[in-house]
């Protein structure tokens, strides 16, 4: 398959996901509603940057999308349950944009390569759904003592620190 057609298809899907993600929180009235609308419109508009500029500036629409969702969520415009769908959409959009950026303009793309990418997308989407669900469930957990909270917090911090640590160790070996 020609990479030109594949890039077009990826761009179309990314645009669809981005539209859904930016339009979903646009429900409110008043100043906050206006801010959310502006952020959503800006994120939709800035999606053109990575699509037209070889994948550069992927962070821009994602940052605006995140800001839009956080504003909507913090102001109570959207329910807490929407975080599951939103996290799936956000990571799938990221993967699509990076796939788009990596694909050469004129290349022959193997079906196995497309299959591998789609499998990766589905796996990440499924993992995102389950992890968001777990995170959402964890918010309802009420810890009995401060010690348990401390232990859980320390564990979470250690898990988070493990990522850059692992990265540094890998680079040290390489």
């Amino acid at each position: 398959m020609s990479s030109a057609y594949l890039r077009l298809a990826i761009a179309a899907v990314a645009l669809g996901v981005e539209t859904a993600l930016s339009v979903y929180p646009m429900r409110g009235d008043g100043k906050i509603g206006l801010l959310i609308d502006c952020l959503g419109a800006a994120s939709l508009f800035t999606l053109l940057v990575p699509l037209l500029w070889r994948g550069r500036g992927v962070w821009l629409p994602l940052l605006l999308l995140g800001a839009e969702y956080v504003t909507a969520e913090a102001s109570g415009q959207v329910g807490a349950g929407s975080v599951i769908a939103y996290s799936i959409g956000l990571i799938v959009l990221c993967e699509l944009l990076f796939w788009f950026a990596e694909l050469p303009r004129a290349a022959s793309v193997d079906a196995a390569a497309i299959g591998g990418r789609l499998f990766l997308l589905v796996s990440i989407g499924a993992a995102a759904a389950s992890l968001s669900l777990v995170a959402l469930f964890a918010t309802s957990v009420r810890l009995g003592s401060a010690l348990a909270g401390l232990l859980l917090g320390a564990f979470a911090a250690a898990a988070l620190l493990a990522i850059p640590l692992r990265l540094i160790r890998r680079h040290g070996r390489g």
Binding site: S3, G66, P104, S108, A128, L131, A135, L136, A162, P164
Partner: protein, 418 residues
């Protein structure tokens, strides 16, 4: 190995969502960044980008200009991965109907090969198989770029034209060949009769002439000899437009002439007279055909300010009584004077002027000034006249014309002069 921009972005998004969850006191926001953190954690635990082994095999290693070959690129990887590859093709070799980049899905220990059709657009010796590879880990967080050097050698020989006639050398050499010599000796072609002298063979007596004059006469014949032909390539300068130039045309003409002269048992030599002087002493046979083909592949324009004369050539490269066919764009004074020098030294010279004018007309900077072009044409015509005054056959050849026509023109001039 390099980090993908994805890695930094995912880490930033995950951190931002966790900070937002803490700052706003809304833990569900952590769920937004958790998948990004998970991809990072899992992706970095997976094996690094695998090292892909590649081989390049060509269907043929020797081809003629304009022909196509198939290059088979084979890949194998110790881990399942996505491979992006770009085939870096040298100028003169092009991909036929296919892009030069591929994205392949490789599976662990399952070699894959892809055939790529390549068109050989220009003569030359090429090193093929230079590849730029990019692999990544399964999550595409770490990328590894590699450049693989060319390993296969492809020789593209200049295309040949069919000639019906050749420029006949004025003198022949003492070796047996297919040309009727102007001298009289043992041979097949009848030349003349002369009075019988003691020692002449009886079978050579011309009985009809002898009976008429009542004196014995014997027949004389022209012997069959070969000739030496030197192809003199003036490569001091060339006129070029993208993939085509006067040197390309001269090389094709030289290859055609060499093949045809060798086919009639003549000895053919090549002299490349330019920034670097190269020569191939005259010889005949199939081996010489291969030597000439190889020598022509190495011909190129080497820029130089050094004034060179014919003296720099060894005497063996310009054998006495050889026919010298010069293929020159007549752009550099050193080449022009070398031709005059050759003629003054008594060489039988014919000049094929590989015209640079079509390349000036098609110049990228727009059409040339008509006055300047006219003056240039006049100057070149004057130059042709001066060569003709020296008894040198000169014919202008534009690449679009048939070489056979040019050879015929040179032959006609030589028949008129000699």
């Amino acid at each position: 190995m390099s980090r993908s921009p994805k890695l930094a972005l995912y880490a930033t998004l995950a951190a931002a969502s966790f900070i937002a969850a803490l700052a706003l006191g809304r833990p569900e926001l952590a769920g937004l960044g958790a998948p990004f953190a998970l991809v990072l954690a899992v992706g970095l635990s997976l094996p690094p980008p695998p090292r892909v082994e590649t081989t390049v095999r060509l269907s043929r290693e020797r081809v003629l200009e304009g022909e196509e070959i198939v290059a088979e690129l084979s890949f194998s990887a110790p881990e399942t991965c996505e491979l992006q590859l770009a085939l870096a093709l040298p100028r003169g070799i092009g991909s036929v109907d296919e892009p030069e980049s591929f994205v392949l899905g490789l599976r662990r220990d399952r070699p894959r090969s892809i055939p790529v059709s390549l068109g050989c657009e220009r003569w030359g010796a090429y090193q093929l198989g230079e590849l730029v590879l990019r692999t990544g880990d399964r999550a595409r967080l770490r990328l590894a770029d590699r450049r693989i050097k060319a390993s296969a050698v492809l020789r593209v020989y200049p295309s040949r034209e069919r000639l019906l006639a050749l420029v006949k050398p004025l003198e022949t050499q003492p070796f047996a060949g297919n040309r009727v010599s102007r001298t009289k000796a043992e041979g097949i072609e009848f030349a003349d009769i002369r009075p019988y002298v003691r020692g002449d063979r009886v079978r050579r007596i011309n009985w009809r002439a002898s009976s008429r004059d009542r004196v014995l006469y014997v027949n004389q014949q022209h012997p069959e000899r070969n000739a030496d032909v030197i192809l003199f390539l003036d490569n001091f300068a060339e006129a070029r437009q993208e993939s085509e130039g006067t040197l390309d045309q001269a090389i094709r003409a030289a290859a055609t002439l060499a093949d045809h002269y060798l086919a009639v048992q003549d000895r053919v030599g090549v002299v490349g007279f330019g920034g670097i002087v190269k020569w191939l002493t005259p010889a005949s046979g199939t081996l010489q055909a291969y030597r000439i083909a190889e020598a022509l592949l190495e011909t190129e324009v080497n820029f130089s300010y050094v004034w060179k004369r014919i003296d720099v050539l060894p005497p063996r490269s310009l054998t006495p009584q050889a026919l010298v066919i010069a293929l020159s764009p007549l752009l550099d004074e050193r080449g022009m004077y070398a031709l005059v020098d050759l003629r003054r030294r008594g060489f039988d010279l014919a000049v094929v002027d590989v015209s640079p004018i079509p390349f000036a007309n098609a110049s990228a900077g727009g059409a040339p000034d008509p006055q300047a072009l006219r003056l240039w044409r006049l100057w070149r015509e004057t130059l042709h006249l001066r060569y003709r005054e020296l008894g040198v056959a000169v014919t202008e050849w534009t690449g679009g014309e048939s070489l056979a026509k040019v050879v015929e023109e040179v032959g006609a001039f030589r028949r008129f002069v000699h």
